[in-house]
Amino acid sequence: MSGFSDCNVDTAILARARRGDMKAHEILYRAYGTPVYTLAVRMLQNPAHADDVLQETSIEVIRKIDTVRDPRAFPGWVKRIAVNKCLGHLRSAWHRLAAHSGGAEDEGLEYRHGDEGRDSAAMGSDMDAERALALLPATARAVVWLYDVEGYTHQEIGEMMGRTTSFSKSQLSRAHQRLRELLGLDGEGNERCMQTQSNC
């Protein structure tokens, strides 16, 4: 589940942060740092970009904290900032260049979390969800993470990406089809489906 749901902040800390108390900001950072970093790593699959997202998000939090009065709104507010930063990275020329150099446009970036000797030949039932997620096309990966894990609606995702609700739905569908293949669920399901097709 999204780590932002545990990102509770104290009213007093928030008030101190609004007054520019950097110690309070550090306490807030300790609360949202891991959820933001996790979001960025999952969406971008690049630790250096995740560092950038966390830093950019934190700076925006520091600069705009005076707009947040209700501590209950803080996790969602930070999450929205972080998501926008991630989407900005996905849209960036640098990211497109990396995607091109790594393969077809908008194809999943190469896996970067250790275990680098493994390649696509390792796809199958033993593949873990993290590796499967990394092999998704970038846009589909972003949509499936935002929808299934972070809890955004298709409408919200479409708006954040500057696209339509239908676009988000189709990307989610595409992501799940690919995930089923990568996780080794597809073959078994198809076989059963064929065997019982007459019942359908």
């Binding site: 589940m1 999204s2 780590g3 520019g20 950097m22 110690k23 900001h25 550090e26 950072y29 300790r30 740092g33 891991t34 959820p35 933001v36 970093y37 996790t38 790593v41 999952r42 995740a50 560092d51 966390l54 830093q55 934190s58 700076i59 520091i62 600069r63 969800a129 993290e130 997620l133 499936v144 993470w145 299934d148 894990v149 739905k169 189709s170 989610l172 569908s173 799940h176 089809q177 995930l179 089923r180 996780l183 669920l185 399901g189 059963r192 489906c193 019982t196 097709q197 019942n199 359908c200």
Partner: protein
Amino acid sequence: MHANTEQLLSLRDGEPVNPDIRDHVEGCDPCRRRLQELDEVRARLRGLPPVAPPGDLWRTVAVGSVERTARHGFHWGSGLAIAASFVLGLALLMRVGDQDDPARAPLETTPAATISGLAEPEGLVNLAALQTRSRKLEALRAAIPRQPQVERAGTAMTIAELEDRIALVDVRLGAADALGLTEAQKHALWKERVNLMQSLVQVEYARLQRPRY
């Protein structure tokens, strides 16, 4: 005809679905199985462990934030332009000087002499003295009339750069504890602030002396 992935996802998420599709899935083992798999995949994604950021990233964040604040968020009270009378400012400054440091009290009444009088003497190492000197320079600077006319770009850029550097020092001083600065580092920042303020006041005073065109 089996339900497609998009339809199954709608069912999984409780979104409106054609009743025929719903009925089909309820009676179709493969479709029900695929529906369960969609649930399972989501659960596996949600079950991925959190990833902790590098431990030293907060320090980078804090420094980055103060640098950006210095670049974008600092203004020298533009609404206060020409608000202070130069003569009155000097008079106030001299009174402050008298109270703070009687031994150095008799400041000259011309700006040049005042700036000179505020120059850092040899061996000045006391933090409180640096802070006092910084305040005096602030007061002197506030007393200099603002220049409403168009001025030379080079002068404006010099002033802007000095203001930015002072702002950066200020924000660092404000975040000194969070940044874990030592006393020596704080002292160095105050010293830098005094030097920058002195340069700024000198540039602004020199600007007043130039013939307008």
